[in-house]
């Protein structure tokens, strides 16, 4: 354990503080809506890339900063931005899932083509994993891509394609090998969203916010070299990308920010003349969650270190999504309880900074969506027990028929 700041780290910290002091006012609001980044966000992203505060370890030839991995640097950057309430850059699925997946498994040409514009925000991605019939059972994807000449011709339907209505590209899981067994017939394709035959329909969720879509693909043609790895390698890519998704969903910085937000709210909210922070039955809950959030934060630093060392994270990596999404939900639940009756007015379409009620209610529901999405908690527990603890897989069973 070496968390003492070397001169290098002290300098980085000072540098970032100076940067925030000088440029922070140009940052877009952090935690704003999930829309296509506007010009301010793109400019800010450009600035962060220029300074190396984003994509710090991505090779320079792909538009990154090319730095050696350093968990303390990562932590310093995240801490300083978080403390100042400044946007840390575009944390979209392109940057959090597609870029690391391509760097891991994509061809050099694919990295050269797609990483840089994704970093800059020029190219926005959506993920085409889930289908109506295969939520938890992702390997059951039925969207078909048939080789015709030099193209794949794709037909099928995707669900939960968040951002598909403004994305440029889709990272698409589909079945290219019709005859192969379930897990062997899959491939990932990189599909431009302006290709003919793609229709995006909004999918209304319990939050009422237009974040998700259903995407229908009808005779969509993409060149065959738009495949990641080889034909039938899709399950390998899926495993890698799901790992990145788990990391994204378990992100502890978000939890830290929430914790701070709740703390402030507890100081400001008054019930019968007493600040909620001074009511021990609430305060004790806040402290419980603080311990869980800190555990998540340090756990994440440990994972980054394992990653930097090139060690397989094993169990610590497998639990991150389950732990993080569960914790998120506990945090928003406390926030709602603090708000009480004043937390009920709900304006999901035009809520702003002064409407914590709507913001927290959205989180509270969206958090359930995240518990469900990307592999439900039940799937996560299967994974932890089977891959992490070596317990037997669910035995093959006689299929009980669906009730009519």
């Amino acid at each position: 354990m070496d968390l003492t700041y070397s001169t290098k780290h002290q300098e980085l910290q000072a540098e970032i503080r100076a940067f925030i002091e000088a440029e922070g006012h140009r940052s877009p609001k952090f935690g704003g809506g999930r829309n296509r980044p506007d010009q301010q966000a793109l400019d800010w992203q450009g600035l962060l890339l220029e300074r190396g505060y984003f994509a710090r370890t991505v090779p320079t030839e792909y538009g990154g900063h090319g730095a050696e991995p350093d968990v303390l640097e990562t932590a310093i950057i995240a801490d300083e931005f978080s403390r100042a309430g400044i946007s840390p850059g575009l944390l979209d699925v392109g940057n959090l899932i597609v870029v690391p997946s391509l760097l891991d498994l994509g061809s050099e040409a694919q990295c050269a083509r797609w990483v840089r514009p994704t970093l800059t925000g020029e190219t926005i991605w959506c993920i085409g994993n889930s289908e109506p019939g295969s939520g938890s059972d992702m390997a059951n994807a039925q969207t078909k891509a048939v080789a015709v000449g030099d193209d794949f011709v794709i037909n099928g339907q995707k669900i939960w394609t968040s951002g598909a209505h403004y994305a440029d590209m889709m990272f698409l899981l589909c079945r290219t090998e019709a005859e192969a067994p379930k897990h062997k017939g899959l491939s990932y394709l990189l599909v431009p969203m302006d290709t003919d035959g793609i229709e995006v329909r909004p999918l209304v969720t319990m939050t009422e916010r237009p974040e998700f879509n259903e995407t229908f693909l009808t005779d969509v043609r993409v060149p065959m070299d738009q495949i990641v790895m080889g034909r039938g390698d899709g399950w390998k890519v899926a495993i890698a990308s799901l790992k990145h998704e788990r990391v994204m969903l378990g992100d502890p910085n978000k939890q830290l920010q929430r914790l701070h937000g709740i703390r402030e709210m507890m100081r400001e909210t008054v019930i019968d003349g007493v600040a909620v922070m001074d009511l021990p039955e609430y305060r004790d809950r806040l402290l419980r969650l603080q311990a869980e959030v800190l555990a998540a934060k340090f756990h994440n630093m440990r994972l980054l270190t394992l990653h930097d060392r090139g060690e397989e994270p094993g169990i610590p990596g497998l639990i991150q999504k389950l732990y993080g999404t569960t914790l998120n939900h506990k945090l928003s639940a406390l926030a709602i309880d603090v708000l009480g009756e004043a937390g009920l007015p709900y304006e999901p379409h035009e809520f702003g900074e002064n409407d914590p009620a709507t913001a927290w209610q959205i989180d509270y529901m969206y958090d359930i969506g995240l518990i469900i999405g990307g592999g439900t908690s039940q799937i996560q527990k299967n994974i932890i027990s089977e891959r992490g603890l070596g317990m037997p897989r669910e035995p093959k069973a006689v299929v009980p028929p669906a009730r009519s």
Binding site: S130, G133, S134, G135, S136, D137, N140, I159, W160, L203, V204, T205, M206, E208, F212, T269, V270, I271, D272, L279, E281, Y282, H329, A333, I336, D337, L339, G340, E341, A342, G343, L344, P345, Y346, E347, Q361, Y364, M365, I368, G369, I371, I372, G373, T376, S377, Q378, K381, E394, A397, V399, P400, P401, A402, R403
Partner: protein, 365 residues
């Protein structure tokens, strides 16, 4: 001698549930949710025919003179079908307030109109319930000024019953000068919360209570208990939907109802919710008795406990539905949000438990 619903109570339950099964479907809920007004004239008319607003009104005043257990059975049924209609405030708290705190003339004036469903009262008790909103009313002569947020049953209301911090209750007509009621869309689109602004508005102070604060607490207890019963019904419906959906949804070549994890989620929901039914029944039973402490303890504990169990059930049932629970497609979220609403109005669980502690003398003076 028995612990359970009587034959008459079962009949009331069945007729109301039967009516609601016909009158309320997902289309109606969606329509009223989009409208965000919280009131449908046809649905209200049907419920009036069943006598819902007069349930607690004495027969002498045109009601059926039934008790809180019947009201709780009705609240459970309304929660089960997520019925978008005024009830807790308009059909329980308001008639109870007038019956217990109104003078004889006031009772004769208001109760028949309430029982007939012609006068519908929004109810604002934030000053008493430890609410986090605004409750700043001042009385000058028979005129009220100030602001009160979070009124229940503002949708379609003709009047408002408001509580002052000292426990006195007053009625204002919403069409009177200086009265402005604005509905705010709440998380539960079918039940808005209203804000009331009063500017020297003419008010009728209920003047028949010997001990106004005690009556106010009793009315608040009744409201809390109704919210508990509503959550009971809504939670039960979510469980039923989850079990049903699990029996149809196939993943990994099996219906998910055959997975032990899903089965146990359902079993836990049932195990936690089922005893709540008896708690609500008993709490309702004692509301009609003379023991103030017992009334308060049971109503507050029922409200708090159903809030906790309801929250778990709402989350778990949604999880059982997977992505489908998170979408709008099946409308499951209407029940989810109903349970959130029930938890948050008239005092959250911590506050209710504190009230229960105080009523038992468990709080340092």
């Amino acid at each position: 001698m028995e612990f359970g619903l009587s034959e008459d109570q079962r009949l009331i339950e069945q007729s109301l549930r039967g009516h609601l099964a016909d009158a309320v479907d997902l289309d109606l809920i969606r329509r009223l949710a989009a409208d965000k007004g919280g009131f449908d004239a046809d649905l209200w008319a049907g419920l009036c025919e069943l006598g819902l607003p007069g349930l607690l009104v004495a027969e002498a005043h045109g009601g059926t003179g039934l008790g809180m257990l019947e009201a709780a059975v009705a609240a459970e049924a309304l929660g089960y079908s997520a019925a978008p209609t005024p009830f807790v405030g308009a059909c329980v708290m308001a008639p109870l307030a007038v019956s217990l705190a109104g003078g004889e003339e006031q009772r004769r004036h208001w109760l028949p109109a309430i029982a007939a469903g012609e006068v519908r009262l929004a109810v604002g008790a934030g000053a008493l319930a430890g609410a986090t909103g605004t409750a700043e009313l001042s009385l000058s002569g028979a005129h009220l000024s100030g602001r009160l947020t979070g009124l229940l049953d503002g949708g379609g209301a003709s009047h408002a019953l408001v509580y002052l911090a000292d426990g006195r209750a007053a009625i204002v007509a919403l069409d009177a000068d200086g009265v402005a009621l604005s509905a705010r869309p709440s998380l539960d689109r079918t039940r808005p919360l209203a804000d009331l602004d009063l500017d020297d508005a003419e008010a009728v102070l209920l003047d028949g209570a010997d001990d106004a604060p005690a009556v106010a607490r009793r009315v608040l207890d009744a409201g809390r208990l109704m919210l508990a019963a509503d959550t009971l019904g809504a939670g039960q419906c979510m469980i039923d939907q989850a079990v049903d959906y699990a029996g149809q949804r196939v993943q990994f070549e099996r219906v998910i109802a055959s997975y032990q994890a899903v089965k146990h989620m359902c079993a836990e929901m049932v195990a936690n919710l089922e005893p709540c039914r008896s708690l609500v029944w008993y709490a309702a039973h004692v509301q009609d008795l003379d023991d103030e402490a017992e009334r308060r303890v049971l109503a507050c504990l029922a409200k708090a406990h159903l809030a906790e169990v309801g929250r778990e059930v709402a989350r778990t049932a949604t999880e059982v539905h997977g992505g489908m629970g998170f979408t709008d497609l099946m409308g499951l979220h209407f029940w989810f949000k109903r349970i959130s609403y029930d938890r948050q109005v008239l005092g959250g669980p911590e506050r209710c438990r504190q009230d229960a502690a105080r009523a038992q003398g468990w709080l340092a003076a």
